[in-house]
């Protein structure tokens, strides 16, 4: 069995996009046709949408059934992705306006657009953030980040304690108490988690560098250790922020999609009941 068989990712993407656009074109044509013949294309597109939603939900189902040979999740993800694109197109065919007028329908369309937008963001995020994560030193597991953070804090504490020179001790300990300790002990701020940046790291490293002029060799060595720890800690926070983002969007997407499915079922029932 050769697992490396199959088309390259680029070919796969090309073929899938092509197939998706052909299918979308067919559905567009059918909708046009149905409109021309005074049929009710909204039913056609509506049920297609519902079927699409169910198909999209199946990815979540497949993820929760790892023990059955139901095809690999990556295959399902690909299906999910292109069905998502397809469903978005069908949505455009289905609705008279991007955001519908009524309360329920308006909520439904906003929900749909939110789920779709988060889906598209997900594609973007899951294709770009891993590279950023890989570029950062140290591949930390999300569940161990707290532990590593404590390790770093402990290491910093130890480094600070091992200073023997009294002059350096005073300088570094003051700085450690004022600036470094809060940094090492606390978790990253929400602002940093949302939009990680290098400001904090630059500021701390710059301040630490400034201290060099007050230090002798031993002190500089410790300062160097502390700087390395600051870098590690910042890398860790960066990893934490990006991994959290990657995880949160999945939660957001899947939670909203549950609500979306429920509301669209209500929509379907009401429409079927009140039609003509």
């Amino acid at each position: 069995m050769n697992r490396s068989q199959g088309p390259s990712l680029r070919t796969r993407r090309l073929v899938a996009l092509l197939v998706t656009s052909v299918v979308i074109a067919i559905f567009w044509g059918t909708t046009r046709r149905e409109t021309s013949r005074l049929g009710m294309p909204a039913f056609f597109t509506g049920f297609t949408l519902l079927a699409g939603l169910f198909l999209l939900m199946l990815l979540g189902v497949r993820r929760r059934l790892p023990f059955w040979p139901l095809g690999s999740v990556s295959t399902w993800t690909q299906i999910h992705l292109y069905v998502g694109v397809f469903t978005t197109a069908i949505y455009v065919l289905h609705v008279p306006a991007l955001i519908a007028g009524g309360v329920l329908e308006g909520c439904l369309s906003i929900l749909f657009l939110m789920v779709t937008a988060s889906g598209f963001y997900g594609i973007y995020a899951s294709r770009t953030l891993p590279k950023k994560l890989t570029a950062v030193e140290g591949q930390h597991r999300f569940d161990r980040i707290d532990w590593v953070r404590n390790q770093i804090a402990a290491a910093a504490d130890t480094a600070c304690r091992q200073i023997s020179e009294t002059s350096a001790k005073q300088v570094l300990e003051t700085f450690y108490q004022q600036a470094l300790s809060p940094f090492f002990v606390s978790r990253p701020t929400l602002a940093y988690v949302i939009a990680p940046n290098g400001n904090r790291r630059r500021r701390l490293l710059g301040d630490l560098k400034e201290l060099d002029r007050y230090l002798e060799e031993d002190g500089r060595r410790v300062a160097g250790q502390l700087a390395a720890l600051v870098r590690r800690r910042d890398d860790l926070d960066y990893q934490f922020a990006l991994q959290l983002r990657l995880r949160c969007w999945v939660v957001f997407h899947s939670l909203l999609s549950l609500v979306l499915l429920a509301v669209s079922l209500i929509h379907m029932v009401i429409v079927l009941r009140l039609v003509g």
Binding site: N2, R3, S4, G6, P7, S8, L9, L59, R63, L65, P66, F67, W68, P69, L70, G71, S72, V73, S74, W76, T77, A125, S126, R127, L129, P130, K131, L133, T134, Q139, R141, F142, D143, Q243, L246, R247, V250
Partner: protein, 608 residues
Amino acid sequence: MDSPPTIPVQRPSRWDEPLDASMTDADVAWLRTRGPFNQMDQSAFPRATPLSGILRYDCRLHRVEPGEVIVREGDYGNSAFLLITGNVRVLVDSLTDRQLGRQPARAIGWGEALSRFLRRSPHPETRTPEQVSINVGGGGHQSIRQVDDRPAIFLQDIEGVLRRHESVSLGPGELFGEVAAMYRSPRTATVIAETEAALVEIRWQGLRILRRDRRFADTLEQHYRRHWLPVHLREIPLLRYLPEENMQRVIEATELRSYGRMEWNADYKKTRKLHPADQIASEPLVVDQGQLPTELIVVRSGFGRMCVRHGAAHRTVAYLGKGHLFGIEEIAYNAMRPESLRPIHYQHSLRAVGFLDALSIPIEVFAAEVLPHIRKSELPESARSLQKSFTEKRTDRRRVRSEQRSEAADRFSPDPSQDIEHAAGVSFESTSLLEFIVQHRLNNGREAMVIDLHRCTRCDDCVKACADVHDGNPRFVRQGIVHDRLQFVQACMHCSDPVCMIGCPTGAIARDQTTGVVSIHDPICVGCGVCAAACPYENIAMAEVVDRKGRPYVDEKSGKAIRKAAKCDQCSGLTSGPACAAACPHDALVRIDLSESPPLSDWLEKRS
């Protein structure tokens, strides 16, 4: 580098770690009175390693009880056994897994998979009593018993087994298991004690020195050349069209050479920290670059590093594994070149990575017997242009026959009708990736878990899926060494050289003959931890087991917690294949054979 002040230490010596510390001088003396040691020529042994030293440090005395399984077919081992007293039986037929106390591999149906998933234990490492010990519920006759101070596994109903299976009885003075020990191949037969017997277990280091004794060596050599060399040669894909008479002449001329240390895994833990250049320098040299080719090297087992001098050090260009050839290009060219052209020298050096067993076929024999029977398309590029005069028509009939033979010879090899590429080694476009893989001995992995970090969103779905199909216990940790965008995850690689299987007292860790998956059979795992210690990649964990209510199992005698080895079993039994790879939503995780380069390079190619 400046030289730091010296620290005087004692040089580690050959026998710092005896196989059995309890061997006494009396034991040695007694052994020396028994055959074949009593007939050995003392003077043949070097002074540093006298025969008595070998017996003292490289041997162990065993007492086996009737029905005890001494070696199992398919196991890897690094020691041979010499029967002193009593009788043992060599079973010609294979025993079933169940008879050996293993759970036979079976497909898990949809319903069972679901019920397993739904009845996951809330506690880590839960086992049923049956899984904890095979002795539970086995009645009065226990499958695993302590014999002297070691656990041993016993066949149930030995008479019945002997009645039903064809077997050969061995008596005092006979040696068995030496091929597996010397040449790192799976044991070919199961041996059980027929009566109470005494055995000397000789580890391969000792065995190798014992060959200094000419008679002993001849016996071994003849045995090997008669029984095993033909088999090994026929496993070589390049020789698959060789007619029988040519093969005989090749067999006569071929020699087997061993390089490096069998226990490379122990060394590796130390050498991996070395600078790569030092690491290469420490590896035994098989062939040096620039020599005139005299023989074709075929790797029979172990690994070789093919490198060229580059600047001040060596650059790895490929690594060799089982069945790979070294020097084919030079030899084929030299053999076919017109007289006018000068012969070329070896273009690369070959070094043993860990250990390397190589068959060497002399160039004359190769040119005369083998070269005419090689497909043109399989010849190296440089030789192919010279090949005309060597063309020989081959009929389809012959090809079919050869294929059948070849198929029987090598189960894991790709379709033999295909041209065999990379017969001369495995290389990647990226030298650094190659160096990395060799340096970390990842080329051992047949089912290595590789993650493409550029696509991995760190969602841990792989770990979750693994836990979901393993009763809530993930069998790997999503961490591991990283090279560029690839992470080689700490999950069992089901190595081509499964060092973990060496030394398992009960055969609880076993390789499936058809799939090559190495898995642990809980009921006969005694929790000794030998496998976990042996694994150079630290991919086996020892877990203290509890029952479904979370109560830990303890040994009824010592009161110590029962431990079991736990590792990836490649989700054997699940028809979905490894759950980790199936669960990855982004095509980031793959279980891949690193002993060959095409799978990984193809895989990388796809995502470039």
